[in-house]
């Protein structure tokens, strides 16, 4: 998607079809519209998983089951991880704002912090999984365990995907590929990262607080 934005600019400015103007100028750019549509499909994917979660929750009382009544404690490591992920969204936006101003140093600094925070979140989630497994909460531990690990696991996979995406953005940024006039890829990747963050806030609220 990122490279396509590049290709599009080239085709508009240098290609023999430049005379064939089309409505691509003005309005939302192709990569950003593409990312918004992709996020729409991701919302529906998580809607399917949440549907399964609420169906299981409605079917079983008590929820959580007695043996796991106090396993998912919001005032624990997971709260720290949540704060870290929310912070990473803030730094990600600071990186976007920086490149909009052509502040490349600020962009690289904030984007590096974002990637590091994403990795830290993943490590904390992995450690949390180990702690939960010690308490007997595994994927095979009834509907409660299955839904918990499926929802958080797929969210974690999306964080991993986001870290890769931002890593590529960081790498390209270090190569000097972005400027205030050319950073659609940064905007698109940051939208994805915010989406992943919002999914986690919903997940945390539903799994730990509700």
């Amino acid at each position: 998607m990122t490279a396509d934005s590049h290709a599009l600019v080239v085709s508009e400015e240098h290609s023999p079809v430049a005379g064939l103007a089309h409505d691509a100028r003005g309005g939302i750019s192709n990569p950003i519209l593409g990312m918004l549509l992709f996020i729409t499909s991701e919302v529906m994917f998580f809607a399917g998983l949440f549907g399964a979660y609420f169906s299981a929750r409605a079917q079983h009382t008590p929820w959580p089951p007695e043996e796991f009544a106090h396993t998912l404690n919001p005032l624990s490591l997971i709260l720290v991880a949540t704060v870290i992920l929310v912070l990473s969204s803030v730094t990600c936006q600071m990186a976007v704002n920086a490149i909009r101003r052509d502040d490349r140093a600020g962009f690289l600094r904030n984007m590096s912090v974002t990637v590091i925070l994403g990795v830290v979140f993943l490590l904390m989630q992995a450690y949390d999984y180990l702690l939960l497994a010690d308490e007997g909460l595994t994927l095979a531990a009834g509907s409660f365990g299955t839904t918990y690990y499926t929802l958080t696991g797929f969210h974690g996979a999306h964080v991993f995907g986001g870290v890769l995406m931002l890593g590529v953005i960081l790498y390209r940024g270090m190569a000097g590929q972005f400027s205030s006039r050319h950073h659609d890829a940064v905007e698109a990747a940051s939208l994805y990262w915010h989406f992943v963050d919002v999914v986690w806030i919903v997940l945390f609220s539903v799994l730990y607080l509700l």
Binding site: V17, S41, F45
Partner: protein, 546 residues
Amino acid sequence: MATTTLHPAAATTYRSSLYEWLTTTDHKKIGILYIVNSLLFFFVGGILALVVRAELAAPGLQFLTDESIYNQAFTMHASVMLFLFVIPILAGFGNYAVPLMIGAPDMAFPRINAMSFWMLPLAGIILMSGFVLGGAAAAGWTSYPPLTEDRVLGSTGPGQDLWITGVILIGTSSILGAINFLVTIFKMRAPGMTLFRMPIMAWTVLVTSVLVLMATPVITSALIMLFIDRNLGGHFFDPSTGGNAVLYQNVFWFYSHPAVYVMVLPAMGIISEVLPVFSRKPLFGYKAFVFATAGIGALGFSVWAHHMFTTGAVFLPFFSLMTFLIAVPTGVKMFNWIFTLVRGQLTFSTPLLFALGFLSMFLIGGINGAFSASVPVDYAIHDTYWVVAHLHYVLFGGSAFGVFAGLYYWFPKMTGRMLDETLGKIQFVLMFIGFNLTFFPMHALGLQGMPRRIADYASGAGWNDLNMAATIGGFIIGISMLPFLWNVLVSLRSGAVAGDDPWEGNTLEWATTSPPPPYNFDRLPDIRSERPVFDQRHGHGAGGHK
């Protein structure tokens, strides 16, 4: 920099090397790859259908020694036809035609477009590999648990897991394709090509893409949950361990009902291009057709549970009402098509014949579908051959006839050569007769209570003659593919040269060469209506309609 000249000497474009085809990002070549790949799987699925029909020709087991082979055959027949033929070939027509029709040089994301395509043959191989790895998926294309969670009954080999993997891949390919179509349609239209001047084909692809975008991720989640249940000890669906089997059906059909519109809307788009061209009239009621298409798309999300009436776990009056309602926009379209034909100057070329085949067969499929929307009737005919008759009248009588209309219509544009009319008409007659001989008797079989998905039936049940008729019809459909294949082979070598606009078409693809140059157009006609090429040909400054 912008001094490079265009080379519309397009005849050379398609004689390029294999490497060029494997690495292309040109939407026209990718569209053709989609179509060829889908036709290959159409023949695979057709052979599986003939295995099923041969087995059912008479009571008792004919040549299969083991019912599980039969289960694999009907499961894979449906999976291949739906996921590897109907959905991708319509995406292929969309890929080929939509950028041309809206005057764009290519799709918005050409490399993602290539990736969407190449996931399909890979997924097809994964799906089919079950046959050689100890047993393909055998629990029906719906893959309901707990049947799919029972390895002995569902599938003896890894087939079910391969099926899940393959279908998720195909779904991902569809989602990426849908994003590509939507961005292309919203952002890449030529100047003057307003949304309400787009060809109907582009509109149907737009609505289809919205359906794919919103529905396909949901089946991905369903299949991932099924995979977790099967392989990682999850408890989503198996009632014996606290799961909920009806949950799977809800999530599955939340995708799979909108998916039936994914499988038919672009075919409706194809015949909405063919009917006006061959009756020399604009489409009757363009805007009504567009709103009806959007209406079908919107209503399509509120009818999924009509597949689940007999579970007793869904709110029957709501889903029954919504299902009846969806007949309204469909009826509007029937009206559009018929009044496009009325008092037109009809030319009975092969594309029009297949479009008329679509019209008549889809009408039957719509009517027998409305029966099933009635809850008491559905209780009686659920899982009988009535349902098999219904779904084939809409999917084969509808979509597949639409696909062949599109093949005959755009083959000259794709290759620069015409397909032979006589062979085309022979194919149409054989296919039309074979189709009705196969599937019309299934209405009677269904009403008499013959269950679907069973390898055998009692000889005294009175179903013998109708089953034999259906089997004969099935083989006639198979034979009808021979003139088609021969036609393609001969016409590619020595068919009549098509010229730019052999049908006197309305839409922009007929304003460029056959086949078009890599970037499609070196100039575009003025676009002042939904028939810019018609306007140009007849010198209308500001198009006839609207």
